[in-house]
Symmetry: C2
Subunit: 225 residues, 2 copies
DNA sequence: TAGATTGTTAATCGATTAACAATC
DNA sequence: TAGATTGTTAATCGATTAACAATC
């Protein structure tokens, strides 16, 4: 291996990192619409942020725009993709091929956005050998083997909550260092392993909180009227 | 309607609101394990945050703990549920019954966490009358009717990206004021409507960014060795 | 050159954290 | 009372934003 990307150490704020994929998606939309160049104002609108924030975010990556002109869509797309690390595909395993696992395996955006599903694993023998999105479902015990063979660094957990911690432990032991967890509840992992969590009912509850306050305001106005 | 919840106006920071559902989940876990009382330290551990943050968050709701003792699990559960607004069920419609819509409709955590799926809608006639999770899939055109009849305030979009904006527009016109969007891409809505977005490939790209930096560090160490 | 737009500065705002007085 | 733990304060840290000098 060679020494590369020496400025990878330059640290980009976490809030900015979380928006880079949003910019990438917005740039793709612009490119599909035939746009070759865009201003920070246009790109910000497409991404749903304000332009000051966009420019500040991009400034952490470097100077990829032209004053008075804007950004070259293709060039900026490449620079952001490179910074995120999705100029090549990352091999991914999905564990838990229930309803959600099916949906994830079939998600076509995967491939086009820097990821390649190399294996679908499930502990239930009744699911084995089934084809999902053209990929055979294999026993969970093959995890270690697959991680080593395919150089998998990222794992997706789509199991029921009770199984999630055990799956995470096995993933970490096998060498996986990034986990996307769709199972409800907290999983704990050693330092150096990143976990991101997607929880449907948490998202809905956050909406419910705001919804309740809107309703409370409406009630109050109703009473006054 | 009666005037209620006068302190609903007291504003709770957004970061705190986003964690309240996490605390609720952690409390449920503790209750299931038979725990009647817990310290901020224990609850924080179960929720995956530090205890100072937990206490600060809870302080926005009121004083529901006992110094020297801790929190009564059942009482705190109720107080947080009340604050979030999930002491009764919110009716929800899901639009787009593909793989993901199926998974969402079948998600059992829905019902137990304050939500009730009242309708599944899809624009494709071939999906109509199909039963998903015991609920009949109905034409998208019934949206307005269902929203009014069932008093739906929260809508879930699980359609392909191209349809998402049109669905959102119809939802807003029908009176929905909170949207959970699983379709990739930005949707725009008027002020007063809340949108939360769940995007699989964005989550994976955030993991990829950190993964790449771990790999870069390993490379550098490799070269030095 | 004149107009446009970036990249950066500096002020402001919000979130986190440690420490500890209050109090059970 | 002594020990434990909350609720709050205040300091710190990180994120957002407006404004504008730099520059195409």
């Amino acid at each position: 291996m060679t020494a590369r990307n020496p400025d990878a150490a330059r640290d980009i704020p976490e809030a900015t990192v979380a928006r880079l994929p949003v910019y990438l998606r917005a740039l793709t939309t612009l490119a599909d619409a035939g746009t070759a160049t865009c201003s920070s104002e246009e790109l910000a609108a497409a991404a749903g942020v304000n332009s000051a924030k966009l420019r500040k975010d991009l400034s952490y990556l470097g100077s990829y725009g032209t004053r008075g002109v804007g950004y070259d869509v293709e060039y900026l797309t490449y620079q952001i993709a490179r910074e995120i690390g999705v100029t090549q595909d990352w091999p991914v395993v999905i564990v838990g091929i229930g309803n959600l696992g099916h949906a994830l395996a079939n998600y076509s955006g995967f491939r086009s956005r820097g990821f390649r599903v190399v294996a679908l694993l499930d502990a239930d023998p009744r699911r084995h050998d089934e084809l999902v999105a053209g990929i055979e479902v294999r026993p969970f015990d093959e995890l270690e083997h697959i991680v080593v063979e395919s150089g998998v660094a990222i794992g997706v957990i789509a199991t029921p909550a009770v199984a999630a911690q055990a799956v995470a432990d096995r993933m970490v032991a096998a060498g996986i260092t990034s986990i996307l967890n769709f199972a409800p509840g907290v999983i704990s992992v050693p330092d150096g392993v990143d976990v991101r969590k997607v929880d449907l009912s948490i998202e809905l509850q956050i909406l419910a909180y705001h919804e309740q306050r809107k309703a409370a305001g409406a009630d109050a106005r109703e009473v006054v009227r």
